[in-house]
Symmetry: C2
Subunit: 200 residues, 2 copies
DNA sequence: TTGCCAACCGGGCTGTCGGTCCGGATCGCA
DNA sequence: TGCGATCCGGACCGACAGCCCGGTTGGCAA
């Protein structure tokens, strides 16, 4: 049984989240943003920061979760095209498009979140595994005859933060073009998967 | 004009390459392999190591280049299916398959190479840009009607080192299954791109 | 063979950063 | 108002990339 958080702890936690959010939005290179920076910006000691979030990854997870929460909810129990009542193929496209947009809107943060740090890679994060599992099911439901598990990984590889960041920030490719290309690619893969029946 | 390397420098350079190759092949977590470790294993001072390769990224590049060289040569001027005389669509498949295999055979090394370190991401490496450019051209030549530049990025995203490492090492997925899934995915994308004529 | 100097060697040193620690302050309940 | 559990904060630690510089060595010229 975890006891309720003391009021000062809650206050500090909120201050850290706010300051970190602000920092990640403005800083040019998220990897260069140190925990000391965050603590200083939040007007809080480093110890406080680490007690509240465990480690850097924990802080990043907390930040990302707040950003991702609305989308997660929309996918789990919202109306079409994200919600469960949608045709699988359209839902896959809608979900990937939504993820693309959220990641673009939070480039630096997602970049930091997906950064390999410690021993944990992107693929071990529960966030990733959840989406992957969902996509797996949807691909199967959409009649994909191939290796749905790996295909789901490939779909998600298309919206990796560093790729998006490179294309959008470094190369200056417009959001519209990115969305169009992703939609087209997804469409092609699923369309074709549907056209060719399972071989065994 | 760069002067020729002194013989002791060449010897040390070779010792470092050999030792590092060995280390990256055996170590479980390449990110944990420090420059001190490499220097010690090579029986060389750290200063020597940094003078020879500039920084960690330089060492990794040198190691990777040696591994990648044969493939690069085969692609640039070898016989089919990798060489220039191949039908574009088959060549794309062959190149991606070959890259997949090389990366699987040098998991830890490629993992370290593609690790984002300093300010440079995978997408800024000349190695990547070369392959990307080639794939671009091939996709166009294969009659892809869509955004060939972005499509080439998506194809390469399918063989990212951390994805492969996760699937092969962590999840224990067989090489055969990986190759089959990749081939199938590539085929689907190109097949479909070919079937649907350019929209504008 | 010898002398000379530029190139090279090596490992100690620095700066940075994630993470820990613990004495002191604070909260909240009785 | 008293008291203990909880929390605060910044000094501290270990790890690591990269720099520095006094000492050494290779290789050319005389």
């Amino acid at each position: 049984m975890t006891r309720a958080e003391r009021s000062d702890a809650a206050r500090n936690r909120a201050a850290v989240l706010a300051a970190a959010d602000e920092l990640f939005a403005t800083v040019p290179e998220p990897a260069r943003l140190s925990m000391d920076d965050v603590a200083a910006a939040a007007g809080v000691g480093k110890g406080t920061l680490f007690r509240a979030f465990g480690n850097r990854a924990g802080l990043l997870q907390a930040l990302w979760q707040r950003r991702y929460e609305p989308l997660r909810y929309a996918i789990e129990s919202g109306p079409p095209p994200l919600g469960p009542e949608t045709d699988p193929r359209q839902r896959i496209a809608a979900i990937l498009d939504a993820i693309l947009v959220v990641k673009l809107d939070n480039r630096h943060l997602t970049l930091a979140v997906e950064e390999r740090s410690g021993g944990t890679s992107l693929y071990e994060q529960p966030q990733y595994q959840l989406v992957h599992q969902l996509l797996c099911d949807l691909v199967r439901a959409a009649g994909g005859g191939g290796d749905s598990e790996l295909l789901a990984h490939l779909l998600l590889a298309a919206v990796r933060a560093d790729l998006l960041n490179h294309l959008a920030s470094r190369r200056g490719i417009s959001r519209r073009r990115l969305r169009a290309a992703l939609a087209s690619a997804v469409d092609l893969v699923l369309e074709a998967a549907d056209a060719s029946p399972p071989s065994d």
